[in-house]
Symmetry: C2
Subunit: 165 residues, 2 copies
DNA sequence: CCTCACTCGATGCACCTGCATCAATCTTGA
DNA sequence: TCAAGATTGATGCAGGTGCATCGAGTGAGG
């Protein structure tokens, strides 16, 4: 027989949805008002800037960012159009390519982190003690794994000067 | 001088973003695979079904759902196209209208809740104890309020047979 | 009564997304 | 060596979203 969904789980679900969409909206708005592109661009630039020589295969980027393939493809188009990245041929696999971050890309990533980290502080840091933030992370982590077939990217360390993911 | 964003807050932020997008994706996929429309439709139908006579002004719906005006307008279009709601003239304010849920709308809302609650149970309830779900809700609530000018809708009770929001 | 500011809801436009599919290339295994 | 299948990345199409703006209607002040 079916188990009735717990009221607590439902309530947690609702809050999770509402709160993240509100907070995300706030952060994105702050960035937009400061004249920056969407957060997805930042994420991509960050991944690229971390990569060994500032370049990644699109398929790697896709796996890091957990977004669909076509989405990656078009995001790269836009980054290239804006001169934030450029495409390089991939000698070892002619189907593929490398995407390399440019100086302008690195520079934008750093400038965005200024605004981004300020927004996180404003909408998250200022509302939660460190201890509570840790508790929250812990509880969220338990939800994170194994929705269907899970492919969590090697979750990176969160250091002071760039947020990882 | 600027305060440096806390590592804990950043980490909590990242997890919040990642986890909710994963969990939401999973739930939406389950619903889609069961042949149901997107969750936004469910939310709208739920709000309507709860309203005094099953009808609301679009502007009310918009405030309940915290989505932009044009979004409400087009969502209503779609619901009406599918026969899940119908428009009624508003005698007291000729600019406005009422949107009324139909029987088909009520019926769909109930059927969706079956699949929806099962998905919540699967992706949230089964991973957290009730006590942890309560803790999570509490921590999230602290983030929820006052992003810029806050207009929290009168948050409704979460009862056993329909999830509220 | 009239005007002006505001609210309600719709819509044209640009862009973004999901889906399906494609061509090119790589890999596997007989 | 070669055919079958998998992988990489791009793209046409339909539909969803944000933004700006519009017309209609309301309501407060003079």
């Amino acid at each position: 027989m079916k188990r009735k969904p717990s009221t607590e789980a439902t309530s947690a679900w609702i809050r999770l949805m509402r709160v993240q969409s509100r907070v995300l909206d706030c952060v994105e708005q702050d960035l937009k008002k400061a004249g920056f592109p969407p957060l997805a661009w930042y994420d991509a630039l960050l991944e690229l800037s971390r990569a060994p020589s500032g370049e990644l295969r699109p398929v790697e980027l896709e796996r890091q960012m957990l977004i669909p393939q076509y989405s990656t493809s078009r995001l790269i188009d836009r980054l290239v159009d804006e001169g934030l990245a450029c495409r390089r041929e991939c000698k070892i696999d002619k189907r593929g390519q490398f995407v390399e971050i440019t100086e302008a890309g690195r520079e934008l990533q750093k400038r965005m982190w200024g605004a981004y980290s300020a927004a996180i502080e404003k909408y998250v840091g200022s509302k939660l003690s460190d201890a509570d933030a840790v508790k929250l992370s812990g509880l969220l982590d338990r939800l994170g794994c194994s929705c269907g077939e899970m492919k969590l990217p090697p979750v990176v360390n969160v250091n002071a000067s760039s947020p990882s993911r």
